[in-house]
């Protein structure tokens, strides 16, 4: 049974909030706690928490998936492969296990297997953005290998190493949710008509963390006070999307908080490099945001959710996105970015 505790989300939102000085609620789920430990770098602790939980609920897909991620972080590759493979077998309609298997195979240099897994992922979820981006990388790796063979170049002199994006959590979409109301992101602030201005968001290249439900349990129905903030947040979403679509990488990165943490645990510098590569790679990008709605999570945090339609000459996809924003009294900055389903 997958438990989702929306208020835990409120606590987790904001990169600075991972357990530092903020007691986790007694009702926080084991998987959420384990995930927090992973974000914190305590893989052994996360594994123990998950193993304890799975002893009582061995079939829990969310926990099993998280365990696979932890095993991979512990470099227990074969165990991770088994975990994800079993999960894919039991839940063949989930794209995430296939994606992570692809990540592992790519790490091992077997890009053909990685491609097969990603195509399986896309068969279950044709617009799954991470899988699309990863597939692009896999094709690039395969092309490079074929090119080396054509010109009889040293195969070991691989040049570019292609690191695929790992997915950190299962989305709630395809599994029974213990959760509550589905993403009625609505709440609060009327999302200003999302003139799907120009560029929208790129598919969250970063491993997405998606939660079926969202919004803090009692989303602050943003009343009047919210108007200025809401306007600012909405404007940020649009500007951020526009920077992305116009391939203004520096401008795009400037919207992210200094302590922004990528969902799959990539270091800031690695994440920035990956974003740079992936934004520069297509010839042209179109990103349309719509149905933007802003909610206040707590005194210093907002959440913007919106529909994102991404098109480039390589791929296109559509997703429901969320950006957690920190309001430090001046600028709004993105502290978390993820897909909701």
């Amino acid at each position: 049974m997958i438990c989702r505790h929306r208020f835990v989300l409120g606590i987790l939102a904001g990169a600075a909030a991972f357990g530092i000085g903020t007691p986790l609620s007694a009702l926080a789920g084991a998987v959420d706690e384990a995930h927090a430990l992973v974000q914190h770098g305590d893989f052994d602790g996360a594994l123990k928490k998950l193993d304890d939980f799975l002893a009582g609920s061995p079939k829990d897909a969310d926990a099993r998936f998280e365990r696979g991620v932890v095993l991979l972080k512990l470099n227990r590759t074969q165990d991770a492969i088994k975990t994800f493979t079993d999960l894919a077998h039991d839940y063949p309609k989930l794209p995430e296990p296939y994606n992570n298997l692809a990540v592992i195979y790519a790490q091992q240099g077997d890009y053909e297997k990685a491609r097969d897994q990603l195509e399986a992922a896309l068969a279950t979820a044709p617009s799954y953005a991470t899988a699309h981006e990863n597939l692009g990388d896999v094709y690039a790796a395969l092309a490079s290998a074929a090119y080396n063979r054509a010109l009889m170049l040293d195969q070991n002199n691989a040049g570019v190493r292609y690191k695929l994006s790992l997915i950190g959590r299962l989305s709630g979409g395809a599994t029974p949710t213990g959760g509550k109301e589905p993403a009625a992101m609505a709440v609060a602030s009327t999302a200003p008509a999302p003139a799907p201005a120009a560029p929208a968001a790129e598919p969250p290249v970063v491993a997405e963390e998606s939660f079926a439900t969202t919004a803090a349990p009692a989303p602050a129905a943003a009343t009047g006070e919210g108007d200025a903030v809401t306007t600012a947040a909405t404007a940020l979403v649009k500007s951020w999307a526009e920077a992305w679509a116009s391939k203004n990488v520096d401008g795009y990165l400037s919207y992210y908080a200094a302590d922004f943490a990528a969902e799959d645990g990539l270091s800031r510098s690695t994440w920035e490099q990956q974003r740079r590569e992936r934004i520069q790679r297509p010839a042209h990008i179109s990103v349309k945001v719509s149905k933007i709605s802003i909610a206040r999570v707590d005194a210093t945090h907002l959440r913007a959710t919106f529909s994102q339609d991404y098109r480039s000459d390589i791929t296109s996809n559509h997703a429901r996105k969320a950006l957690d924003l920190a309001d430090n009294g001046g600028d709004l900055k993105i502290t978390r970015e993820y897909t909701t389903r």
């Binding site: 054509a150 010839a283 390589i314």
Partner: protein
């Protein structure tokens, strides 16, 4: 595809202008056929089909480097990356060689290959029921196998063939050119008795032949042979004179080349034509050769000598010495009986108005009988008449001759 990306794929696809002629696809070996199908799929915008075809092809022939290059380009365009080739200098020699091979395989062959039912104008006639001829189109790096089947000469198969680094028209040892002319394989050497460089095997050829020696051409060691195991094919202009084929293609020729017998034509300007257009020249020459035979059989030495050109040479004798010799021999006989069979007539490449006749000659006189395989070079003079300028006989063992 982005126009601002340097794309070899773009280069590769602009090489083609028309559709692939069916005859080429039907007679090319499977590996090349599949490659051309992939190219065709790409041109038709079916990138996914092309990718599948190429994936299968390179799995089967990982050394087929032109296919790997095309595959790399197709994959790169799916990844959205700049061309996989962009990171290498555009004038890298390996890349240039692969592009040359690609161009030859696709453009030169496909667009200028033979129409259905056409025959090369080099072959005026082949004798016998199961006769074959090998024709190499040197400028286009393509080897054709023709065979007499049922209703006439037909194209049986064709193969990509590399020639010499400096092209064709060999005249001297070390000039790194492939000769132009009509040759025969002397034997077949299997790969396991040769250095690995020659791949699956070799047919050494008889360069310099009678005509080459007449012209004072030097050099030796001109073979048809295979490739080292580390590669599937070599660039179009690569050897020191030999004609080089993929290993499986070289082995396929064993069904078609009879050493000492099958004509192997290296042509510098091959043209394809309907068989009917060759008929009148063929019958003219057949008649002429038969008249020569008749004069000989009737011991009409003057008439016989009238078929020889004034600059004729044979066995060190000029025409007048040859004439005196023949008169003496014929005078000593009461009866001469000459029959001709198994006649091949070939327009000699690289020359104007020169035809090579090769036939088996049964000679019987009152005291002597031989069977010989004869080569006769007939040249048309300024008066429009065909005359023999060189000839050579190779006596055949009786046991082989009578069949």
């Amino acid at each position: 595809m982005s126009s601002r990306r340097h794309h070899v794929l773009g280069i590769l696809l602009t090489v083609l202008a028309g559709a692939l002629p069916e005859v080429h696809a039907a007679t090319a070996p499977p590996v090349e056929s599949e490659f051309l199908q992939a190219v065709e799929a790409l041109r038709a915008g079916r990138a996914s089909d092309a990718q599948d075809l190429l994936a299968t092809l390179v799995r089967r022939e990982p050394q087929f480097r032109v296919a790997q290059l095309l595959y790399a380009e197709v994959l790169a365009s799916r990844s959205g990356e700049k061309s996989a080739v962009a990171s290498v200098a555009p004038n890298s020699p390996q890349l240039k060689e692969l592009l040359d091979e690609y161009r030859v395989r696709v453009q030169d062959t496909v667009l200028q290959g033979p129409p259905v039912g056409a025959v090369p104008d080099a072959v005026l006639g082949l004798s016998g029921v199961h006769r074959t001829a090998i024709i190499v189109d040197l400028p286009r790096s393509r080897l054709y196998v023709l065979a007499t089947q049922g209703n006439g000469l037909q194209l049986v198969s064709n193969y990509y063939a590399s020639i010499a680094r400096n092209g064709y028209g060999k005249s001297t040892a070390g000039d790194l050119r492939t000769p132009v002319g009509v040759y025969h394989a002397t034997t077949f050497e299997p790969g396991n008795v040769l250095p690995p460089f020659y791949g699956s095997g070799a047919f050494p050829l008889d360069y310099p032949n009678l005509w080459d020696r007449m012209l004072g051409r030097t050099g030796h060691g001109i073979w048809l042979h295979g490739v080292p195991v580390s590669t599937y094919a070599r660039p179009p202009r690569t050897s020191e004179g030999c004609v080089v084929l993929a290993n499986e293609d070289l082995l396929a020729l064993r069904s078609w080349i009879v050493p000492g017998d099958t004509p192997v034509v290296f042509s510098d300007s091959l043209r394809w034509t309907a068989p009917a257009t060759l008929a009148s020249q063929r019958s003219e020459l057949v008649r002429r050769i038969d008249n020569w035979r008749a004069r000989w059989s009737e011991r009409d030495t003057d008439g016989y000598l009238g078929f020889y050109a004034t600059d004729f040479h044979s066995d060190g004798m000029n025409l007048s010495q040859f004439g005196r010799y023949k008169r003496a021999v014929n005078a000593a006989k009461r009866r001469i009986d000459v029959h001709i069979r198994d006649l091949d007539l070939l327009r000699y490449p690289g020359e104007k108005d020169l035809v090579l006749a090769e036939f088996t000659q049964d000679y019987r006189s009152d005291n002597f009988a031989t069977v010989a395989r004869k080569q006769q070079f007939w040249q048309r003079g300024s008066d429009g008449e065909w005359r023999i300028i060189r000839e050579l006989s190779r006596e055949l063992p009786q046991s082989i001759a009578r069949n």
